[in-house]
């Protein structure tokens, strides 16, 4: 709640005081916060270390990107009804899966539903065959890797390695207008707050407890009568859709979506956000996402070659010395935050 209030406050104050060029950057951070919450749901609470959340994030982004491309049909460099890259590829017709994306509501629904369905199908196959732990991580990574390769292809119809870019308007408002950017920022803040409330509701419900129980002793939950597969599937799919929401909000603020966004390394970075902040605590996940990305923004500008070292060292240091993240550290030190769950036996 505390965090939620703070987030709302920030949402209102920041656009008023921050310089225009900072607004999209901060808006980006809000989106990462949503993604971190999604990651925390599966990893912190359900014990599933997904290396595929970058994929869901990017899929949501692609959904939004497709809307942004379609809504400016006829205004591209080639004045064609098709997106520029299709004209460039000498395509004559819109591929079937691009139809309908000129409508904002449809595009938004698809941005969430398509990754959701993918997560559901993939998760069903994984969970029913009791794939878990590092195996699951590895297979999710392979899924992400395959998807990246697929999206890199020009023939896939998503703009190849350039991805989708050169957006102009969202819902009639120019994306270059600072006012629109502020609105997008506020929308992200509201989405983050909403996501936080939703996640809080889920993890404090009995379902949340079942999910954590599945993490700790899956067979026992089954003997208690819970179909663990369904629980995992629920939390997994929900998380994927939240991550897609983050991606959909992210794209208009950064102005581009391409396959590098779904590279396996991005998914693993999400995991480290959560680890830094503290697994199994919602506030910690968001905090971690902000700290790591803040550090990244600063360091890649100040000392580019040092960033990978810093990130690598962060991975090692957090796992070795901060198993419960900053929140865990805080509660150990005796701060008023109290970590609600034990470190899960992974």
């Amino acid at each position: 709640m505390l965090l939620g209030g703070a987030a709302l406050l920030i949402a209102v104050v920041i656009p008023l005081v921050a310089p225009d060029y900072l607004v999209p950057l901060l808006g980006k951070f809000l989106c990462f916060g949503i993604a971190a919450l999604a990651m925390d749901l599966v990893w912190g609470y359900a014990g599933i270390l997904s290396l595929g959340h970058g994929l869901f994030f990017a899929l949501g982004g692609y959904g939004m990107g497709m809307y942004l491309m379609r809504v400016i049909a006829g205004e591209g460099v080639y004045r064609s009804n098709l997106p520029d890259f299709m004209v460039f590829l000498d395509w004559k017709q819109l591929p079937w899966y691009w139809h309908g994306f000129q409508s904002f509501p449809f595009a938004m629904v698809m941005s969430l539903v398509a990754p959701g369905v993918l997560a559901l199908v993939f998760g069903w196959f994984m969970f029913r065959s009791r794939i878990r732990g590092v195996y699951l991580s590895i297979v999710t990574q392979a899924l992400t890797y395959a998807a990246t390769l697929f999206f890199f292809q020009n023939a896939a119809g998503f703009g190849g390695n350039n991805g989708l870019t050169d957006f102009k308007r969202i819902l009639g408002a120019s994306l270059h207008d600072p006012g629109t950017r502020k609105l997008l920022y506020v929308a992200s803040a509201i989405a983050l707050f909403g996501t936080y409330l939703l996640c809080r509701f889920v993890v404090t419900s009995r379902l949340g407890r079942v999910v954590t129980a599945v993490r700790d002793a899956e067979l026992k939950t089954r003997f208690c009568g819970y179909e663990s597969t369904n629980y995992k599937l629920f939390i997994w799919t929900l998380s994927a859709m939240l991550c897609a929401l983050a991606g959909a909000l992210y794209v208009p603020q950064v102005g581009i979506i391409n396959p590098s966004e779904m590279q396996p390394s991005n998914s693993i970075e999400m995991a480290i956000w959560v680890a830094v902040g503290g697994r199994g605590t919602l506030g910690g996940a968001v905090l971690g996402a902000w700290l790591v990305n803040g550090g990244k923004s600063w360091l890649t500008a100040a000392l580019p070659s040092a960033w990978l070292y810093a990130l690598g060292a962060l991975f090692v240091a957090v796992t070795l010395f901060l198993p419960d993240g900053l929140v865990g550290l805080g509660s150990k030190v005796g701060s008023k935050f109290r970590s609600k769950s034990l470190r899960p036996p992974t």
């Binding site: 270390l49 065959s129 590092v134 590895i138 297979v139 392979a142 395959a146 090692v316």
Partner: protein, 546 residues
């Protein structure tokens, strides 16, 4: 037949005697000396100032039939012949930017400069080229004869059939005979005699050589007037048969090629997976930096090659260096970081991912972000030709052989040595092993080092197959984890079977559906496969508590 006689007559009239057979016995001394002089004089005559004189010399060379005249004639036709101030002819070698002696090929120091370029008309070339070909067909070097046969069949000169047939009659080398037969067939396909064409088609269809495909297509096609290009129906039928034969032969060749390509991919995967099977399977440590061990091994090979200035024997040095250096890195990692993470596999995954980032960045800073290339030593250059159009590069064969040796060695170490016994004891019951006096720490570190070292060996193999870059390991890590998942954890046999399966399947799907579809298909296959056998191909059996 009549055509053959006719051409023979023409050849005889133009004074082009048949060259001395390659297998002719040694000449006696005196005659040899005289011929030597004649050869040198004729060669110098090639640099004469008038076309007529050059023609005369060319014909003289034809009569002499000495293959040593080949470089000079070649140079003449290529505008590389030079006339020195001493009146002798020399061959210009543009590579070393100097001249060579036309007969011995030795570089001529203190050249009789200035050199004059010998320019000839196409007229002369027309005379010289068939004679050059004819000399080449008589060369003692089978490779030269082979090249000449192919050249002749493509050139389509009037004398070609006669020359080829003559050469075929004298030829003993099976390979060159085959090439000559094909060359004759190629010429005969253009013959006016339908039965000659059919006979030629017969030869083509037996050979399965895809060089004929376009000619065959053309024969089967129709002209713009709607009439078939080939007037004779019998010939058309033969051409159809020949085309089918060629196509199916090509399919087989392509398939076998893919298979072998897949086999070498499988070998690289197996290197990575063997190491993983050791670290993941035995220690339960999921090492995301394992791919970087491959990369380090490849860079170690590169460094050794550079340090030895590309000596042809850098590989035997690189192999132990790569193994030891990556093993050392592995042991260091295990001692400093990974040992604190046993029993926390997901954290291990993250930490080792961080390590891999650090390793990549370090290599980038030391060697640069660009790919470097490691040259194959000359004894691995070239390949083994199994059938027409199917050459197996020695590097790939060597990699397959290497991985077999390494896999056998790993098996031996784990199953037949004291160390292996301790490893198995520790992995089955750590505390019990510790109780009976096995130093589990030492075993852990050594096992991790072994796994990393094996990956390092894989890096040596990789460096022979392609370029080496800092991200090299990233592209293999996912595939090699798939191998481990598919094969079942901790099973060497499983790793071998899965690596073979994945490598070969990948390369078989690729040509038909593209590399990406291949990857996706393999992933889908694995997902479906683990539905049936979650434990992998070769599961370790045991019971799980709740």
């Amino acid at each position: 037949m009549s055509r053959w006689i006719l051409t023979s007559v023409i050849v005889a009239v133009t004074g082009a005697a048949l060259p001395r057979p390659a297998h002719a016995g040694p000449l006696d001394e005196a005659q040899g000396g005289r011929l030597e002089q004649a050869l040198e004089r004729a060669i110098d005559g090639l640099a004469a100032s008038s076309d007529d004189k050059i023609n005369e010399s060319v014909n003289k060379l034809a009569v002499l039939g000495d293959p040593r005249a080949i470089p000079a004639l070649d140079a003449l036709c290529d505008d590389r012949l030079r006339l020195g101030t001493d009146g002798h002819a020399y061959v210009w070698d543009s590579k070393i930017r100097d001249i060579r002696d036309p007969v011995t090929g030795a570089v001529v120091g203190g050249a009789p400069r200035p050199l004059k370029e010998v320019e000839i008309s196409n007229e002369v070339r027309r005379v010289a080229l068939p004679i050059l070909a004819q000399l080449k067909l008589g060369s003692p070097d089978a490779a030269v004869r082979l090249a000449a046969a192919q050249e002749l069949s493509n050139g389509g000169s009037a004398e070609a059939p006669a020359l080829l047939r003559g050469a075929l009659g004298r030829e003993h080398d099976a390979k060159v005979r085959g090439a000559l037969t094909l060359a004759i067939a190629r010429v005969d396909l253009g013959s006016a005699d339908a039965s000659a064409r059919i006979a030629a088609l017969e030869v083509v269809s037996k050979s399965g050589d895809d060089d004929f495909l376009s000619t065959l297509q053309q024969m089967l096609g129709q002209g713009s007037d709607g009439k078939p290009n080939e007037p004779d129906a019998r010939v058309r039928a033969a051409a159809q048969r020949a085309r089918d034969a060629v196509v199916s032969h090509q399919r087989v060749v392509g398939f076998v090629g893919d298979l072998l390509h897949g086999l070498s991919l499988a070998s690289v995967l197996l290197f990575a997976a063997l190491g993983l099977a050791v670290t993941f399977g035995l220690l339960g440590v999921i090492n995301m930096a394992h791919g970087e061990m491959l990369m380090l091994g490849a860079y170690a090979t590169y460094s050794v090659q550079t340090a030895m200035h590309g000596s042809r024997f850098y590989l035997p040095v690189a192999i132990p260096v790569a193994f030891l250096s990556t093993a050392l890195v592995g042991v260091l990692l295990e001692r400093t970081i990974i040992r604190h993470l046993y029993k926390r596999p997901l954290e291990t995954l993250l930490a080792t991912w961080g390590i891999s980032l650090g390793l990549i960045q370090t290599v980038r800073l030391i060697f640069g972000a660009q790919n470097v290339s490691v040259a194959n030593p000359d004894w691995l250059a070239g390949g083994l030709e199994i059938a027409h159009g199917l050459v197996l590069p020695w590097t790939r064969i060597a990699v397959v052989g290497f991985v077999i040796v390494v896999a056998a060695a790993v098996w031996f170490i784990l199953q037949r040595t004291r160390f292996g016994l301790e490893v198995r004891a520790v992995t089955q019951n750590r505390s019990m092993a510790a109780c009976i006096g096995i130093s589990t720490k030492r075993v852990d570190a050594l096992v991790f080092g072994l796994g990393s070292g094996i990956a390092g060996l894989g890096g040596v193999a990789l460096s022979q197959l392609g370029n080496v870059g800092p991200e090299l390991g990233q592209s293999y890590i996912i595939d090699s984890f798939m191998v481990v998942v598919l094969g079942g954890v901790g099973r060497l046999a499983g790793a071998v079977a899965a690596a073979l399966g994945l490598g070969v399947v990948n390369k078989l799907i690729e040509p038909a559906a593209g590399a990406v579809a291949g990857k996706i298909a393999v992933l889908v296959f694995i997902i479906l496969f683990i539905q049936r056998r979650p434990q992998g191909l070769f599961a370790i059996k045991g019971r799980v508590e709740a």
